[in-house]
Amino acid sequence: MQKSLTIDPEKCTGCLQCEMACSYQSDGLFNPSKSRIKVFNFHEEGRFVPYTCTQCDEAWCLHACPVDAITLDASTGAKIVNADTCVGCKVCTIACPFGTVNYNSDTGKVAKCDLCAGDPACAKACPTDAITYVDADATGYERMKEWAAKTDAGMTAGA
């Protein structure tokens, strides 16, 4: 069974180890602002919510890309940005209704979660198991997929 990142905000303390691990994995330095996973702080509610790409089946980013720079990694199910091919047009950043593809003006390319080829650095760095990499049918993931369907422009039969 394919695995997915599963996030349990109840366990998140907002330490940002995941953001550092992500940026270290991709850029070789500690830079939360360039992380593909982002922890949001709901101050009034006393809640931290890590958030990243669910590698949704709809893959708006992939379909919207005009130059075929986003492809499917069949082994992990991740939608991967090929930086050599990406021209930086940013269409995927507006097409993704989850807001999980972001433009990086330093590189002139977009960036998104690629599941670290099946060994996600964020999950390894999380000290509280708020982020885990588990079988894809685990709790929470399905809910996000339901929401994904709700955003669909017309790919759902008879909707």
């Binding site: 379909h63 130059v67 021209v87 940013k90 097409a95 807001g99 955003t151 422009a153 017309g154 790919m155």
Partner: protein, 415 residues
């Protein structure tokens, strides 16, 4: 079963691929008018600044992609459709029969009806061939006039500026990108360009172009002034390629009229992409959007409906755009001009940051942004899911930059 697609742009190619997925044994043919491998116009500016080689503009990178998918790609213009006979006439005089047809012929640049548009150094910037010609002529030190500060004009600004030309932009409206950005943000983009050394003349029209003077061309403006230029690039908008449909029985307005299944007034003929006057998510009316995500969506949906036994109704595409004008990133979504509901805006003129949200009741219906690059897609997500924002509406009225929090709280039920 023979699926024929007219047009080798994103809508046509996405449709062909989806057809292959859904109908593995059918014959699938694409007819493109240009003598090119299917490519993306979106990538032309990046080709112009030499960020990508010509191959980088190709829609699919594998040379054998279409062969491997058993999709025939022909470089032949379609001149006529005979819906009764289910046949197409090609430019070489031959005829092709189809079972299902998709028209995805895209659009073409329009030129204002003024004298001199036919002159040698007056170009559109639309095809890869145009791109090559501009790359050849826009030499350092040359004076270039760009007519039109719309999406295409803005997106090629940087490539021209990088080439070291002396650049003037002329726009008839009172701001830049008037069909995508409101007055405040459109004028912030103007100021941004001026700070980067581009001469921007808004509320100005070119009345005519003639040969002569020290440079190749001489332009006269509606205010009586004139200037000389080496090259004029015309980017004053595009129109759907529907002229060839005359007499076909396919109903057209601005573009091809379709029903919610992207089917035209003629049976077994569908339309997709820039040429298609499809359903707009926000207004519920039919309009030509001419944007990349809509082309891809149309292509997917039309292909599905071309396969026997499959039927999906279109829920409409959110009109949206993202633009990089010499490094200043702007975006628009849905009803960015508003529709009578509340609006919430923050302006930071000094730092070229701007965000405006438009609501109907407590639902986000449109947005304009400048300088926003992180999580911008949730604006689409919130609009298209018609998420009720509840108490977050008021928080966004106070500070629209909290939109990502609002999204997580309301759409993902995370807080």
């Amino acid at each position: 079963m023979h699926h024929v697609i007219i047009g080798a742009g994103p809508a046509g190619v996405v449709a062909a691929e989806n057809l292959r997925k859904l109908d593995p044994t059918a014959k699938i043919s694409i007819y493109g008018a240009e003598r090119e491998v299917p490519y993306s116009r979106m990538a032309i500016p990046y080709f112009l600044i030499e960020n990508v080689p010509e191959q980088g503009t190709h829609l699919r990178k594998n040379d054998r992609h279409y062969d491997l998918m058993n999709i025939e790609v022909h470089q032949q213009r379609v001149d006529k459709i005979d819906a009764a006979a289910k046949a197409l006439s090609l430019e070489d005089g031959s005829t092709v029969n189809y079972d299902k047809l998709l028209i995805a012929t895209g659009s073409h640049p329009v030129r204002p009806p003024i004298p001199g548009m036919e002159l040698e150094n007056v170009h559109s910037c639309w095809t890869l061939e145009d791109g090559r010609a501009i790359a050849e002529k826009a030499k350092p030190g040359n004076t270039v006039v760009l007519m039109g500060a719309g999406f295409i004009g803005c997106i090629i600004l940087e490539s021209l500026a990088i080439r070291g030309v002396d650049l003037t932009v002329v726009e008839a409206e009172n701001r830049m990108v008037p069909r995508m950005m409101n007055e405040i943000s459109g004028n912030l983009i103007k100021r941004w360009c001026e700070e980067k050394g581009v001469n921007v003349r808004t509320s100005t029209r070119v009345d005519g172009i003639e040969e002569g003077g020290d440079k190749a061309l001489k332009l006269s403006f509606n205010d009586g002034s004139t200037m000389e230029a080496d090259v004029v690039i015309c980017a004053t908008g595009v129109r759907p390629n529907i002229a060839f449909l005359e007499g076909s029985g396919i109903n057209t307005d601005e573009g091809i009229l379709v029903n919610p299944y992207l089917e035209t007034s003629q049976a077994d003929i569908f339309a997709a992409g820039d040429v298609c006057q499809g359903l707009d998510f926000s207004t519920g009316s039919y309009m030509v959007q001419a944007i990349q995500p809509t082309a891809a969506d149309h292509g997917m949906l039309a292909a599905n409906n071309m396969v026997d036994g499959r039927e999906q109704r279109h829920r409409g595409c959110v009109n949206m755009n993202v633009l990089d004008t010499m490094g200043l990133i702007s975006a628009s979504f849905g009803l960015w001009e508003g529709s009578g509901g509340d609006r919430s805006a923050l302006e930071d003129y000094d730092n070229y940051r701007y965000l405006e949200l438009q609501f109907e009741d407590d639902v986000l219906v449109g947005a304009n942004s400048l300088g926003l690059t992180q999580h911008v897609g949730v604006l689409r997500g919130l609009i298209q899911s018609r998420t009720r924002l509840g108490k977050w509406k008021e928080k966004l009225m106070q500070d629209p930059t909290r939109v990502m929090e609002a999204y997580l709280a309301c759409a993902q039920a995370q807080a």
